[in-house]
Each structure stands twice: as C-alpha cells, then as structure tokens.
Point group: C2
Chain length 365, copies 2
C-alpha cells in the first residue's frame, strides 16, 4: 500500500503511516495487563465445566487442562476501550469493565461462529466444539454473552446502563453479520455493498463499541460516543479489507492460514465481489469459473492444485479486485481518522488512536 | 394432591386450592394480549431469515411460512410480569417490556437447549434445528437473547438498568442449570439436593425474574423485588416437581408427551433421585435396574416394552419417589405463598398471585 493507485477514476492518496510500533505495543500491553485479570476473574465465575471450557478457548489451558501460554490475539479491542476512556478525560482504568465486556462478546461470537461454520482450527488450536463438543460451545458462548452484561451492569451506574445498551446493539449487528455471511454462502452473486454491510456488522460494529465504551463509562455524551464509534466502525472495515487481501495473497507463514485460504473456502470476500463487479474480460472469465466451482462437491474442490487457486487469484487481481480492496482499506482508514478530529480530546490520546489505526491497517503480508 | 401425606416424619398440610380458573384465564389472557404485539414487533426487528425462523419457533407461521394459529404456551411468565408491576403500585402496562424480555430469554434457552439435547419436537411441532438447521437455532437464539436486553435498555431508565441486571443474572442461572443437566446425564448418581439446585436454575430463576421484573420497572426497592423473586423461584420449583410427576405418570393425552416420557429419556428427575435416596428394597432394586439401563445403547433402550417402563415406574412409586415429589411440590408452593405476605401490596393483586400459583401447581394429569 505504498503507491498511489488509480481506482475507478478516483485518486486515493497513499496512507503509508510510519507506525510507532513501540508506542502501539505499549498500548496493547497496557490493555492486556489491565483487562486480563478482570477477564479471568469473570470467567472464573462460570460453573464447572464451563470455566474450564472457556479457559481452553482463551488459551489459558490446553485440552488436557494444563496451563498454557495463551495466545489471546492482538488485544486491539481492550487497548481501544482504555484509550476511549481517556478521550473522555477519564483514567484508562475506567474503561476496563468495557474492555472486558467487549472481549466477552467477541469470544461468545467466536465460539458460536466456529461451530456454525464448522471451523476446526482457531489461533493454531482445535476449536472448542472440536475438543469439548457442540453443546459446550453453545453453552459457554451463551455464558460469556451473559457475563458481558453482568460485568457492566453490576457497576450500577447510569453510564453502565448506556454502555450495555450500546454493547447490546453492537452484538445484534454481529449476529446480523453472521446471518448475512451464512446466507451469502448459498448465493451466486453478492454485491460490493452487501459485502461491506456484512463486514461492517461482523467486524466494524464491535470495534466501534470498543472505541467508544470507555468514553461512555467515563461520562461522555452521546455525540462523542457516536463519533468514536464511527472511528472504530471504519477502522474495522479497513482492517477487514486488509484481511480480505491477506486471505487470498497473504503469506501462510505470517497469517497462520493455508495459501489462498479464502479461495479454498469459496468466500465471497471483497476482492472477489469487487472483481466480479468490475466487468471486462478477466471479470467475466472469473465469473464463469466461480459459477462452475460453486456446483462442485466439497471434496473435489478441496483437491484442487495450487495452480488452480493461483489462476483464480490472478484473474481477481487482473480484474482489479486486489487493488480496489487495498484502496478501500485506505479510504476506510481515512474516514476513521477524520472522525477523530470531531472529538475534543487530548492530542496525545488522538495520536495513540491514530497509531493503533496505523498498526491495524499496516500488517505483515 | 388431595390427601395429607406423611413424608420423612413431617406432616405436609394439603394444599388443594379451589382454583379460580376464570380469574386465572383472564389474567393469562391479559398478559398475552398486552405482551404479544410487543413481542412480535421485537421479533420483526430481526434481519431475514432470522425473523422467519423466530416466527416459526413462536408458532406464528408453519415450516412453509404460512400463518399458523400459534400455541405460545400458557403465558404464565407475562402474566406474572404484569402482576408484579401492580404489586409495586404501577399499571400492569409498566411490566410489558419486562414480560417481553423474559419471554425472549425463555425462548432463547428453548432454541439452544433443544439443539444441545437433540430434542426433535416441542409443543407438537418439529424444533427449529430440525426444520431450519443447527446454525439457525444457534443464531436466532443468540438474537433473541440480545433483543431481550435491547427491549429493556432502550427504555433508558435507571429501573430498566436494574431490571436488565436481574434478567442477566437469571439468564446466567438458566445456563448453569443447563450445564448441570447435561453433566448429570453422564453421572450415575445425582443427589436430591443437586437435582433441586438444577431445577431451581432451569425453571425457578426465570420465573423469579418474571414475578419481580414488573415491580422493578415500576420502581420497587430491592427488598420487594427480592421477595417477589422468592415467590417466583419456589413457584418454579413447585411447577417442576409437578412436571416431574407428570413426566413419568402423566396421561399422554394431556401432556402431549409419550407414556413414561422422562423414563424413556433416562432423566434423573426428582421422583427418580428421591426414590434412589430413600433406601429399602424397592430403592435398591431400582438402583440395580437403572445402573444396568445406563450401559445400554440408545436403540436397545428405545425398544423397551411398555411393561419394562411400567416396572421401573412402579419401583419408583414403591420407594416413595412419587409421594415425595408431590409433597415437595406442596412444600415449594407453601414457601412461595409465604413470600407474598412479606410484600405490602393490594389484596386483590396478592389474590391473583395466589390464583396463578394454584393454577401452576394444580394441573391436569
């Protein structure tokens, strides 16, 4: 994403931020350090065996119950929640219950989505339904969702009620997004707009909530919270656009996924729908090939050679799907950053929001 | 339940209430009339196809999408929620969002439990996972749970925050109860206390919430809400004890279930655990038979003759399991009614709480 790209007639200014990695790592570390003990204490409230199943999901123990190092992900959401408390002039600690509640909802959705999608691996480990069975994946997901509300509402403040309302609304969008994702799988054609809406629901809504929930708990008014939500929402879409590019062209060593991962899953991700919408020779060829693919049985499709996926990827790129998606990531990033200017916050806090956005968008290929 | 029964040395006064059926029917009808339109409007908010799946679950449409008569159950919970608003001196309408939220949570748990338990029928119709697939059962369950919080929190009042907190805590108990139910299936022995705790979580907690949520929305203090919860909790346990008797000895025509329904499912319900705990010849014979049953494969067990189940039922009865459970229903009923005396409410409202309890406990065999 380092060159100016002509896409559909508009010139997108390159946003190649010089990421302050040390600063971002400190910010992520702070989020993890403050939120994890509270998250662990929340999970400890679960009745057995749900506490153990949840601890496995979070990577705190292995399948045999032995303590594990625990790869809890990048922890961008907790970092955002703490920062958003500071945007409202409060201490970062004020955002902790919000950070924990958002993480609980995020993990509730992972547990259920992995089961619905039949995904057997997450973060290089077997998923919960694979290890502990479908019933536990449903049950523990439900319990984490309920815990999220519990953690916030036991604060007993008006702000906590407002925060819970916003988190609930984000959760509904998350569920809408998963419903769309499932229904799109069975459709031959998905528009770019539908794909963006689905990704906004699945990824944008909860990042939006993370970026504003600390501010809400810190007493920010609705306008401030809405604006911070806008930052988080578009940051989520930028993240997802980058993810969609990596899902096809990402290096397996960095992504931890197979080569052509999203193509293997026949995912109608942004590069694919943009390529199909572009028109022209490559787009039409791609459409024909994907229509034929859709009718192939699962195992025949899984046996495709590297070359067959490479052909599809090349057509997507030729039709402009890759460039469009990279440009879309920059557009969404720019919209996210613009929102920050509408909130009156300390310059240092604004800089950290920007650095986090840079980090999210500039990821290793 | 019309005779005095000697149980474990204590004399339980018979509670054979002369149920004011007309009054109860009017009360249930009022709950249904006020809550159903709001419930339908809430479900209409769901994105397709979740709205259709939910409408099927509630019985508003059939599997082909055609309008259906809709057997939404007895609607005891909405009736309780409205009555509890009146207990706090508010209009019954004040309880409506609470009634709807409780119904949403109840149906969230039905959707997920049916899938986890592999139950193919509910209210004489195929369950959602059977008709629309497991993913929709998970997804729509999640959506109903989220909607419950949304309906309450959008009221934007302090009372709504308190009501949501109580509902969330009841939902956590519901989930705990389901976790216990699942884990007890794999255990050879379950104590009477464990069974009561599980039933209190699965049935008592949400009835407790229904019986208090209207009062909370009407501005009642925590002590009043706690006391009304106690009424609902013990009413739930009374209901469940009656249900456990009907689950073995109920008339299939009235219950809509198979003969010896709970025995066919090898359920460790109250009559069974009480019989096993009683000691003596019949209890020991029963223990031996059930231990052997537990090791039989599903299909061999399903092929049992009526006589084989009748033998087991007779041993449970001989060991005192049936009488103990009927007596337990009366004890729980009495505890529920006692709680009502601790709340200062209009006599007419109290009478209606009592009539609803009578109705719940005195059901057709």
């Amino acid at each position: 994403m380092s060159t100016t790209t002509e896409t559909r007639g508009e010139t997108v200014t390159p946003a190649t931020p010089a990421v302050d990695f040390a600063g971002v790592i400190a910010l992520l570390e702070r989020g993890r350090t403050l939120a994890t003990p509270v998250l662990r204490a929340a999970v400890d409230r679960l009745a057995p065996p749900m506490d153990t199943v949840a601890a496995y999901h979070f990577g705190w123990i292995d399948a045999d119950g032995r303590p594990a190092a625990g790869d809890g992900g990048k922890a961008v959401r907790p970092a955002l929640a703490l920062l958003s408390a500071q945007a409202a002039g409060a201490d970062p600690e004020v955002g902790v219950p919000g950070a924990v509640a958002v993480e609980l909802v995020h993990n509730f959705s992972l547990l259920h989505d992995d089961l619905m999608d039949g995904d057997e691996q997450r973060r290089h480990r077997d998923t919960v339904w694979k290890v502990h069975g479908p019933a536990q994946a449903i049950l523990v997901g439900d319990a984490l969702f309920a815990l999220a509300g519990e953690i916030l509402l036991e604060l007993g403040t008006v702000e906590a009620g407002r925060a819970t309302r916003r988190l609930t609304s984000a959760t509904r969008k998350l569920i809408d997004g998963q419903a769309q994702d499932i229904s799109y799988e069975h459709r031959e054609r998905v528009t770019v707009e539908e794909c963006l809406e689905m990704e906004g629901n699945k990824t944008g809504a909860l990042l939006a909530c993370a970026a504003s929930i600390g501010a809400v708990l810190g007493g920010a008014d609705d306008r401030t919270a809405d604006t911070l939500e806008r930052y988080g929402y578009h940051l989520g879409l930028a993240f997802q656009a980058v993810d969609d590019v990596l899902g096809i062209w990402g290096d397996p060593v960095s992504t931890g996924k197979q080569t052509w991962s999203d193509l293997r899953q026949r995912k109608k991700s942004l590069p694919v729908v943009a390529a199909l919408a572009a028109g022209g020779r490559a787009s039409e060829d791609l459409a024909q090939i994907l229509a034929a693919d859709a009718n192939k049985p699962e195992d025949e499709f899984a046996d495709f050679s590297e070359e067959e996926f490479a052909t599809r990827a090349a057509l997507i790129e030729e039709a402009g799907g890759r460039d469009w998606t990279s440009a879309e990531a920059r557009r969404q990033y720019a919209t996210a950053i613009e929102a920050l200017d509408e909130v009156d916050m300390p310059g240092e806090v604004r800089d950290q929001f920007v650095a986090l956005a840079d980090f999210v968008v500039v990821r290793e290929r």
